[in-house]
Amino acid sequence: MLVTRALPDAAGYYGPFGGRYVPETLVAALDELEASFQRHHRDPAFVKELESLLHLYAGRPTPTYHAARLSRELGGAQIYLKREDLAHTGAHKINNALGQGLLARVSGKRRVIAETGAGQHGVASATVCAMLGLDCVVYMGEEDVHRQALNVARMRVLGADVISVTSGTRTLKDAINEALRDWVTNVETTFYLFGSATGPHPYPRIVREFQRVIGREARAQIQDLAGRLPDTVIACVNGGSNAIGIFSAFIEDPDVALIGVEAGGRGGDQGEHAATVECGTLGILHGARSLLLQDEGGQIIGTHSIAAGLDYPGVGPELAYLHHVGRADFATFGDADAMDALQLLAQTEGIIPALESAHAIAGALRIAPEVSRDHIILVNLSGRGDKDMETIAARLGTRA
């Protein structure tokens, strides 16, 4: 039985992955963050406040729902959806934003920065900052600003300053670069509210701990509904916050298959996808050693996915480790698969998933018909699709 709850080690490693590769200027702030997290995350008063906010503010627990019509349509496995799309702000990102927001408040730093790809972490950060009375600056790649315009508007309404990043590939990778540069500059007054299960230690651990609630709830709910654990758990993966959140509750159950779905984009050519685990190699980016999409010279390669939240050339170190030790499997589904899955879920269940989450649904659609009717697939429906309606409408040729 694989036990990863003891990981990372003291230096922040999950086997060969993780660590802390940052400029010296950030070391003191990361040490301080680690100490603060250690002190607070099991402190009864902190836990009580966070649980209360998760319940009364974010609307948790989110339900686990048996998608009976979709399951019948596919003629195989019973598909259950963990409805993170029903959490406040429309995705799982609020879980971690609340946790880190409380750490920010404890730190005494009044200014919060965040990076965002699809905008869901940016919206969650802006929301929590508004609620806690903190200033919020969100870095977002220019390409993502355009394709996730609704989320940009939401962040601005919430009072956040959204900075459009025009360097490099103008997506999440470059937003993280700019956020790190801001943090290096303003580290003494600024809390970096990191949204992905990647980055320098202790972020991957902090994000996992604050997203663990997804798996904890889903595990109890599926046992209530189906009387047993699922056979397969599926989540979309890029940085991997929603995936590690749901996987964390099942890692020690050897009979539960864990499947991460990466973005296949437009195909297998370099630059046309974001299938980091499938195609990546070991390297160092944004403070962590993990699998990366890079050229032979170690320069990072651009990615493509229809889902802005999956359009990043790295993967969180713990997910790379779960792959490395064979505990999780990874599959790749492309833009077209995600669009098909999105439509099928919308038309059989009346749920429009985020394009990111639609990749996880695509994974379930592939497996479900091949297994028996008593096979249980639990899918983390990490977010809702409202933010993607322009992209979806353009793709379907339907005028919005």
Binding site: G168, R181, G298
Partner: protein, 262 residues
């Protein structure tokens, strides 16, 4: 003796700062980078920092990012960095420190990196995203070839950690002058003298100040407080702002005025 150590010894004897201009591999072009470097040497540089571009340089501000981007679009590889070092070395005996982010170095292989850097004539490596606690492999690989791996200090580094950084440090301590990224600044931080004194209390290794150094008066203010200075963005800004074909001359003229104040 490593050329870096020799350079600080002779600068100390002359009560001078070691002035280290920064050259990006492949910038302004692959060919002209060597001309730029040699012009800096001619203008009085005591050491050169040779920067290998990376696609995601998180410690660099817009100026170095731009030079890196231009160089990467020109198709530079780490082999070009070794080649540049080799060509500079064939003309001069001043110390050359190869700077780069961890990932391109790691992909090349730390053993091969040390071997090739040494063979090309480099004297040290500067890796801004590898902390001393993660540096064992790269430090020992380079020590075998007599190369120094330079450690960093920052204004946020507590004294106890400065002492740890000082222990086992080689060549010099790269003292980041401000909390921030590279880029020229009109004024140096008011807290710089106290911070440099703190570094001096923690270690006897020479202190080289980088980030934001752009003017002769900055260098003058460092006398007695540090042992050297690195100048990067200010020089790239001059190259960028100059008419085509005039950038090298203009940047070298600035190095000459900096050298007079060093």
């Amino acid at each position: 003796m490593n050329r870096i150590d020799a350079s600080f010894q002779s600068a100390k004897a002359e009560s001078r700062l070691v002035l280290a201009p920064y050259v990006t591999v492949g910038y302004p072009t692959r060919e002209s980078a060597v001309e730029l470097a040699l012009a800096y040497v001619e203008a009085g540089a005591d050491m050169l920092e040779i920067g290998m571009p990376f696609s995601d340089p998180i410690a660099d501000g817009p100026t170095v990012q731009l030079a890196s981007q231009i160089a990467l679009e020109g198709g530079v590889w780490l082999e070009d960095a070794f080649h540049l070092v080799e060509r500079i070395r064939s003309h001069t005996d001043i110390p050359l420190a190869l700077m780069g982010y961890a990932n391109p170095f790691m992909q090349f292989g730390l053993g091969a990196l040390a071997r090739e850097s040494s063979a090309a004539g480099a004297d040290g490596l500067i890796v801004p995203d590898v902390l001393p606690e993660h540096a064992h492999d790269i430090e020992s690989a380079n020590a075998r070839h007599g190369l120094h791996v330079i450690r960093f200090a920052a204004p946020t580094t507590p004294l106890a950690r400065l002492r740890q950084i000082g222990q086992g440090a080689r060549g010099f301590i790269y003292c980041v002058s401000v909390t921030g990224v590279t880029g020229s600044r009109a004024q140096l931080s008011e807290s710089l003298p106290a911070y440099l004194a703190r570094v001096g209390k923690a270690t006897t290794i020479p202190r080289v100040v980088g980030f934001g150094i752009s003017k002769p008066e900055h260098l003058r203010s460092l006398h007695g407080r540090a042992e050297g200075a690195i100048v990067a963005s200010a020089l790239i800004d001059i190259v960028q702002a100059s008419p085509p074909g005039r950038g090298i001359e203009a940047a070298a003229a600035h190095v000459r005025s900096l050298a007079a104040a060093a």
